[in-house]
């Protein structure tokens, strides 16, 4: 028995690769669905905040990510956009990451028609700007100075839904979907703490633990952390079999697989240690 664990300790990494791939592929192929339960998570707080906003509120949705984190943040973007549309809020899309501008456009335009929404009346994509936090500070005094045109070069003055909006003071909520810096932290610091604008967000699972500090201080109104956050939001909005909800089944199986790897790796380590061979 001890020999088996010793041999396992020297396993070719490609076997681990295959096992991880199988842990993900099998649940997808078998359409395994494990129902997602939303507890007292910060994702519920964000949902309830959006729900409680009066219809017609102006919400900035900042797509601060790129394709490398798309599987986590794109389902989040689609769920949030759907919720904002269903509640008749107006979405002002923008991006602190250049590739977020195209991904945000995809999320908003794909839902716009099916929910009877119109570009420039119910949503707009202002596009990408450099500058991160410095740029956000300027939004606090004039949004038009930063966005004289939208992503497709349509002047601010020709976009009906933007008339009457001057600065961040006219925004009821900012939601940043963030994969790192610049992202949620910049929004919390420059828009939330400086101009007192409510900040919500969605982030990759990697950065979620750090952002929990802003929840306890109420610098953020809610947070969607990784695929779990996206699945929570899909569940709360009522999206059946959403991309993130479906992703939670392979996620469950793969987590168990990794935990088993760690346990087996440790047993192999202690077995070898007892024999005096482990480093």
């Amino acid at each position: 028995m001890a020999d088996i664990f010793t041999r396992m300790g020297n396993l070719d990494r490609r076997i681990i690769f295959i096992l991880i791939a199988l842990a993900v592929i099998i649940p997808i192929l078998t359409d395994l669905i494990i129902p997602n339960i939303v507890g007292a998570e910060p994702s519920r707080d964000l949902f309830e905040f959006v729900d409680a906003l009066p219809p017609g509120s102006n919400v900035i949705l900042s797509f601060d990510y790129d394709p490398s984190t798309m599987p986590e943040l794109q389902p989040m973007a689609e769920a949030v956009v759907r919720h904002l549309f269903l509640k008749d809020h107006r979405i002002i899309g923008m991006a602190l990451w250049p590739q977020g501008a195209a991904l945000g456009q995809d999320a908003m335009s794909s839902l716009s028609d099916s929910l009877g929404k119109e570009q420039y009346l119910d949503w707009v994509n202002l596009g990408y700007k450099t500058g991160g936090g410095v740029m956000i500070v300027r939004l606090g005094t004039s949004m038009r100075a930063i966005f004289p045109t939208d992503r497709d070069n349509v002047p601010w003055s020709e976009i009906p839904m933007l008339q009457g909006i001057n600065s961040l003071d006219d925004i009821q909520l900012v939601i940043s979907l963030s994969a790192g810096d610049p992202g949620i932290i910049a929004w919390v610091m420059m828009a939330g703490d400086r101009y007192d604008i409510p900040i919500g967000g969605g982030c990759t699972a990697v950065s979620a633990p750090q952002l929990y500090t802003y929840l306890q201080t109420e610098q953020m109104v809610g947070l969607l952390g990784g695929l779990k956050g996206a699945a929570d939001y899909e569940t709360l909005v009522g999206i059946e079999n959403g991309e993130a909800i479906r992703g939670m089944s392979p996620q469950s199986v793969a987590h168990i697989a990794i935990m088993l790897f760690i346990i087996i790796g440790n047993i192999a380590y202690f077995t070898q240690k007892r024999k005096g061979g482990a480093r």
Binding site: T69, P71, P148, A205, P250, H255
Partner: protein, 217 residues
């Protein structure tokens, strides 16, 4: 030609090229990797031109109604100085642009980091002290003791001996729990990305094969 299917196949081919790295480094992986770098850089440049330089610089310098706002020559010149780094003889000019970027960032960050990540956090810790049930009081205690002892652990101006050492030990224990949580979340993040790609290959790309071969629906 069905451009949607062509797009799916393009995506699938580059995905498989990149995954071939799992077996070992090979020309297909290198090809896709180099293509990714080149296309990403091209994308960044185009977005910078259309979303930043034209609306925020060019249109300000040469407004539609005519005229010339000379003041906007300055940031344009500074942006150009950035490129001087490529020419050794005039590389020093890039320091002017860097000076502006660093100074602006430092001036802003100094205040906002202090306000949001120091003062607000201290305030949050102090006001976390709860008066509710036993569990709530216990949680507040863990939070306050955790923050203070964690800070003591990072305070290297005093030797970690005696009471300071014991407090730092509590701090590192709390930090270990936090790092464990970060590790758990990191595993989740990486797996989510893999799930996204596998879903694409299995649910978007794979069904196109029988369609192309004229089998089934």
């Amino acid at each position: 030609m069905n451009w949607e299917i062509v797009g799916i196949w393009l995506g699938a081919l580059v995905t498989l090229c990149l995954y071939s790295f799992l077996y070992r480094d090979n020309p297909y992986y290198k090809f896709a990797e180099h293509l990714f770098v080149g296309m990403s850089a091209g994308y960044w440049v185009i977005y910078s031109i259309f979303n930043v330089l034209i609306p925020n610089w060019w249109d300000n310098m040469l407004p539609e109604g005519g005229g010339f706002n000379w003041i906007w020559v300055i940031p344009g010149l500074f942006a150009l100085f950035m490129l001087a780094r490529m020419v050794p003889r005039i590389a020093g000019l890039s320091r002017l642009a860097l000076g502006m970027i660093v100074g602006t960032g430092a001036g802003l960050n100094m205040l906002t980091f202090f306000q949001s990540n120091a003062l607000a956090q201290v305030k949050g810790t102090i006001f976390s002290v709860a008066t509710g049930g036993v569990w709530s009081i216990f949680s507040s205690l863990v939070l306050v003791v955790g923050v203070v002892s964690g800070l003591v652990y990072f305070f290297f101006s005093k030797a970690h001996t005696g009471f300071t050492g014991k407090t730092a030990n509590v701090g590192i224990t709390i930090l270990m729990v936090a790092f464990g949580a970060s590790f758990g979340y990191t595993i989740m993040a990486r797996l989510s990305l893999l799930i996204g790609r596998c879903t694409f290959l299995l649910e978007d790309w794979l069904p196109t094969i029988p369609r192309l071969l004229g089998i089934g629906g």
